[in-house]
Every structure is written in C-alpha cells, then in structure tokens.
C-alpha cells in the first residue's frame, strides 16, 4: 500500500520535472533548495517511483536527434469496424501510442519509426489494410516540451 502524498512529495515531484544538474550527486542541489537531507530526497524519489507517482527517473533522449521520426496520425473509424481496424493498426510495431477520442476522427495514434520514410510507408500500409484514410499531423514547431504537471 502506498501513502498519500505530503507537501514535500508534491514539491519534489514538481522539482523533478525540471532539469537536474549533471553532477556526481544530482540530488544535493534539490536537497538544498527544499531544505532537507540529500538522503531524504533520494529515499522519497525512490518511494514515489515505486508507488507509481513517477514513471521513470533519468535522462530523456530525443529520438529525433538520433534520426528517428514521429508522426501523430488520425483516422475516422466506423463504430461497427472499430475492433477490426484497431487490431490491424495496433499490429504495426511502429504504432507507439493509440488513443480513442470523442470526435469524428476517433482513433489517434503516434507512429515512431527509425527514419522519415517509415512514416509514409507505415501510414500507406494501414490505409491499404483498412481501406480508410490516415491523416498525418507531423509536428512543424514545438512550443513546449516539459511534460510538466503540478502535483
């Protein structure tokens, strides 16, 4: 069983969403900012991760800087074909996330491929298999990438 979050947990979750210094003891600076021991920061961070409040602690890599490609895609799937189309779409390993949304365009997924050509070829394959159009919404400009939420 996990305990409810206290004030320090919330401060820590908020702080951990900002960049940490690349130093031998990265938690020291946070400990000073929050005026607690370094060990307490380490222990709390571990507990927050173990309890599922944090999914991961570490470096976040930019796959695009490594040559990978991403593209948000959307389809308008008839209700009576939803499961069949979903099975076909999800069968592609390139489909990283897929969400149902309450709109005429009711299936939204992200393609993640090793290179730019993979986006078009995967989308074309899905169109061929399903007979439905895949709209592509590649990002043209990113305005913020903090994934920050207030705990």
């Amino acid at each position: 069983m996990s305990e409810p979050l206290d004030e320090m947990d919330r401060k820590l979750i908020n702080r951990l969403q900002d960049d940490l210094p690349l130093t031998s003891r990265p938690f020291v600076q946070i400990a000073e900012e929050l005026d607690v021991d370094e060990q307490e920061i380490v222990d709390r961070t571990r507990r927050l991760r173990d309890d599922g409040y944090l999914t991961r602690f570490g470096p976040f890599f930019d796959a695009e800087a490594l040559g990978g490609a991403f593209c948000l895609c959307a389809m308008s799937v008839p209700e009576d074909r939803f499961q069949e189309v979903l099975t076909k779409v999800n069968a592609h390993a390139e489909v990283a996330h897929n969400y149902e949304r309450d709109h005429r365009l009711n299936m939204w997924f992200v393609l993640a491929t090793e290179n730019q050509d993979g986006i078009a070829s995967t989308a074309a394959a899905i169109e061929q298999e399903t007979g439905l159009q895949v709209l592509l919404f590649p990002k043209e400009q990113e305005f913020f990438i903090g994934f920050r939420v207030t705990a």
Partner: protein, 162 residues
Amino acid sequence: MTLHPKDRAIMEATQAGLPLVSRPYEVVAETLGMSEAELLKRLSRLKEQGVIRRIGAAPNHYRLGLTSNGMTVWDVDDAVIDELGKRVGALSFVTHCYRRPRALPDWPYNLFAMVHGANRDEVHAKRTEVAALIGDACRASDILFSTRILKKTGMRLSRKEN
C-alpha cells in the same frame, strides 16, 4: 546522426532509468566499465547536442489524479501562430504544444495543446484560459477527450524512445 558506441551503450544503460542512490552515475559507470568522470562528460556532450533533452522524472498523470486529458485544437491565424504558440506552451497546465499542418477540409486546426485535469470540468476551464490568451486570432477550436487508451508501449532504443 550516429552515436559513438560508448554513447549508445550509455543510452541503453540509462533509458530505463537511473538507480535511485546518492551517486547514480558512479553505479552506471561501473556497469559500463568507464569512469564516472567520463560518463558525466559524455552525458554533458549529449545534452549540449540535444540528444538528451533533460535529466529528471516523468510524472504519472493518472496516479496523480489527473485522469482527464483533453487535446485542445485551434485554428490560429498563420501570421501570429508562432508567437501565440509560445505563450500557450508556457501555460503551466499545458503539457505538450505543437504547430501541425491543417488537413483541409476535414481539419482546420493548426495548434494542438494537451491539457490535463482531475475531471472534464477542470479541463474545460483551462481551455477557456487558452481561448482568452489566443483571443481574436482564433477562428475555430475544439477539444477531443481521450476515452480509452488503445495502445501504450514504452518506446525503447530499438524502437526509439521519447
């Protein structure tokens, strides 16, 4: 961009996360057979190159009670979208914000801003704040709530990670 084999090994060793100890890089360096100093130097360089965006934690929105997520979409005048996009992206409750191409005639929206909240009312209230910020430059908008997660796989190195 091709990574140096040592950098690739660093990426593989850290993409699942760092050990939660006082000196996490010392532990990772040992498993990689390099010094802590070299590991930190290489990580710094990867960060300067933009390969690493940041070092930190990813929150679990659902676990934090933010169970409602709305993709707000806006048809914004092209002349001012970049200036306004920056301001929308800077709002504390917007977690992702992108300019994307319209898909006319089906889809007139070119600005996408993801908003999380404890429930739909909260997300709607935040959408109103975004609308006030964009003002007259917005010609139309909509909000798409997610009703179901259909697939969610961690993107790992072989498949790329984000």
